[in-house]
Symmetry: C2
Subunit: 309 residues, 2 copies
């Protein structure tokens, strides 16, 4: 088995990706800025800041990984859409890819986002082959630009490059300020919570499935952009209903109390034909089971609900 | 007058840009890797490698320039189209822009290339507003990606960002391996020279005009991409004819001896309406006068013709 280098291994999708990789018996080198990464059999952690070019180049030259899964990015809830750090993450990602290619890397997978697509004129499921790209945020523009130059560079150098374009995720360890955990935690604590109208149709995928899809993409020879999503749409209101069925407390949810966010499309669905037919990946989790397991995970945390940071 | 920071000031277009800026009475800080940059009244040189992030950030924080003209890039003749360093120039340029914005920068001009456009389906003059972008080289892809993320970032931060999309240049100090100087030098030395068929139609602009256009763009409030070109087409064969009229020696030129380069379009012309009407720039040089002056410049060098490196 070839050695895999993973960045962002301590993150929301990073941990399940590592679990999948070591579950396959792979040797994994994982980069993290955390001083206390979780012990995982088969994972060798390297504490490293990707902003440290010299340290990064030295480590990659030493490890000479053949495969790369680059998950690290700025993800601070609410801020990442417009954070100037997006620009630095483009440059760090390019530095990383350049070092990887120079040290003999063969195949790289990086994370994209549904925010690369043009959200202003959505008619149906978003397709890698035919839908327009027109990011409306710096986050989307940064990911879009990274893909363009990384793809051209990798193709020229004969390195395989795949782009895992994530849609909406949920699952254990998600930032507690995001939709699913904030609702679950409020219901568990019997505290009121305000939401939007809930009419937006979205594709929610369990993070374990997203991690499985990323690893399946790594293990395939597919190159270019691949939507990582369940292929099934649900309105945010329906998702709330499912959580209320699981946890009770409908009187706690104040629907429509939050305004619509500007630029939020009504409908954001993924065409998953590439993921299903070319990568050969099929999700394991239904939304009902995934939400139930996620609610259980938060319940098990038994952490006191702290005010939103 | 606001302070201007210029990168690549020692290069082919960099020197004429500096001359224009100091001609306007501006104070210019110029970055160069050269240890012996030419003395120019009004230019303060800083010897700095843009790969040195820490030194760059410190210098920009110290200078706090309000305007930036970023000309530096890898330009090694023949190699720059596919040089892996293009990837690093994207990351250096983003680091530079990020530092510039953070230190209070207000307006930045960076260099693009006609190689950002889709060359596979050319029907007429290339327009910033309507022509498709589809770079076929890593150089073009890198510039295209840089523009996308830099433009989104600058717009979000309220900084003006303009993109000077260069076509074909000629003039003093051009790399002697490129078309115009290699022909002039061969004719001056009465040595034979092989060329292609010469049927390609191109837009050639004197580098002093290109520098003037870049400075006019800097002085304007135009944002986004602007073609920097003369607006007049000439076939490479006609350009050769003009040089032969100036210098004699038609028997030295072996036309058609070099094969066509793959991917080279027949026709590559620029729509210059934006440059002319919005920036308000008009070229000073005719092609005839520009080539004559360039030939004189090479003659004055009186350097022995050395073999192509």
């Amino acid at each position: 088995m070839t050695r895999v280098l993973v960045t962002g291994g301590g993150g929301f999708i990073g941990l399940p990706v590592l679990e999948r990789l070591v579950g396959e018996g792979r040797e994994v080198d994982a980069l993290t800025t955390r001083s206390d990464p979780p012990e995982l059999l088969g994972v060798r952690w390297h504490q490293l800041d990707l902003a440290d070019d010299a340290a990064l180049e030295q480590l990659i030259a030493t490890l000479a990984p053949q495969r790369l899964v680059h998950l690290a990015w700025c993800t601070d809830h609410g801020h990442f859409w417009h954070a100037p750090e997006n620009v630095l993450w483009v440059q760090r990602s390019l530095r990383l890819l350049h070092a990887f290619v120079r040290s003999g890397g063969r195949r790289a997978v990086m994370l994209g986002t549904c925010a690369e697509y043009d959200w202003s004129s959505l008619g149906g499921a978003l397709s890698e082959a035919t839908s327009e790209l027109a990011p409306a945020t710096l986050y989307g523009a940064a990911k879009d630009a990274l893909r363009r130059v990384a793809d051209a560079y990798a193709r020229q150098e004969g390195v395989e490059f795949a782009w895992a374009r994530l849609f909406f995720l949920y699952g254990p360890r998600e930032d507690p300020r995001r939709l699913v955990p904030s609702v679950i935690r409020a219901l568990l604590a019997e505290q009121p919570i305000a939401t939007g109208s809930g009419e937006q149709l979205r594709d929610f995928m369990h993070v374990d499935d997203a991690a499985g899809a990323v690893v399946a993409l790594l293990d395939s020879s597919v190159v270019g952009a691949v939507n990582i999503a369940s292929g099934a749409g649900v309105t945010v209101g329906e998702l709330l209903d499912r959580l209320l069925q699981l946890l009770g407390g409908p009187e706690l949810v104040h629907r429509g109390a939050l305004p619509e966010r500007p630029g939020e499309p009504r409908l954001l669905l993924a065409d998953v034909a590439r993921l299903r037919d070319e990568v050969g990946f099929h999700p394991r989790w239904t939304l009902a089971d995934g939400l139930a397991a996620t609610a259980k995970w938060w319940e098990a945390q038994q952490a006191p609900v702290s005010p939103v940071r």
